[in-house]
Amino acid sequence: MPHVADALTAQTIRIAGHGGDGIDAYLAQPLGEGPFGGVVVIHHMPGWDRWSKEVTRTFAAAGYLAICPNLHSRAGKGASPEDAAAATRAAGGVPDDQLVGDVDAAARHLRSLPSSNGKLGVIGYCSGGRQSFLAACRLPFDAAVDCYGAGVTGSPPSQAPVSFVPLIGLAPNLSCPLVGLFGAEDRFPSPEHVAELDGELTRLGKTHEFHSYEGAGHGFFAVDRPSYRVEAALEGWARIWEWYGRYLSS
């Protein structure tokens, strides 16, 4: 992990998300003048939880401005992350257009910071992996990371919410280099789903690297869950630092 400074600051701020809606966002910044690259962190389906904030701080500790918008903010102010996630799920999930609007707002906030070098990456985990790909296809980014995002390729499940549609058709619009980190034992996305996306990006001439880790399934980065796989997570983090180091440097 790159190490720029020990000192960082982190706090929840309020930003105007999609449609002008006020949403919470967790902002972590290394102290110092910079200039720093920035990363928008898209949290996983279980919500805007402690681990997601920990990941956001990890980027700041490595010398990146980082922001994690609460995609479930609209479920109700003051709701616990778990309750907000459940309410959002019951309501059909996060619509794609809303996701893009919220990520755009978070990205604009990072770019507005005086210590920004103007370069931005996006990363997402679980459902956020799919959303990271979506954001990178609809918004201008300099580098993207998809951590085991399902639903980019393949057919949506029969009971999937209306907002859930495969994204493979957006691939020609991918705005930046993409690294994909997957568990070889994951079923959603399966190795076949990953191979399909890999093939399509190769066909389109899009810069990308995909890594699949044996012995790992879905959610292998999540240190507070039984799905955590330390070897895959350490390898994956190394790929993230390499990717962002290459594309987000001043």
């Binding site: 996983h44 389906m45 279980p46 479920a75 109700g76 709701a79 616990s80 778990e82 309750d83 907000a84 996630a85 459940a86 309410a87 799920r89 019951a90 309501a91 999930g93 679980c126 459902s127 085991y148 399902a150 639903g151 949506p156 499940p157 029969s158 009971q159 999937a160 919410p161 859930f164 994951d186 079923r187 959603f188 399934g217 879905h218 959610g219 869950r225 039984p226 799905s227």
Partner: protein
């Protein structure tokens, strides 16, 4: 696995939340990541009342085997229609 699949059923009854009992109007059922249970995937049920906000929720996360056992026990306990 992140299935996105959710079964939703309208229900009538009550659930005991953090603060007190409240009327439940809806249940969502999904086999996906748990928040708390020590398993990679669980059968999750949320009993909800949307009108009372996201905190009006009773949640359970069960292993697949225990969820099946519970489902059978519920059916065995009910009187015939």
């Amino acid at each position: 696995m992140c299935t996105y699949q959710t079964e939703t059923v309208a229900v009538q009854g009550s659930g005991k939340g953090v603060a007190a009992w409240f009327p439940v109007t809806e249940a969502t059922v999904y086999f996906d990541h748990p928040q708390h249970a020590a398993a990679e995937h669980t059968l999750n049920v949320d009993f909800l009342n949307r009108e009372r906000g996201p905190s009006a929720r009773v949640a359970v996360e069960l292993t697949a085997a225990s969820a099946r056992a519970l489902a059978q026990a519920i059916l065995a306990s009910l009187p015939p229609d």
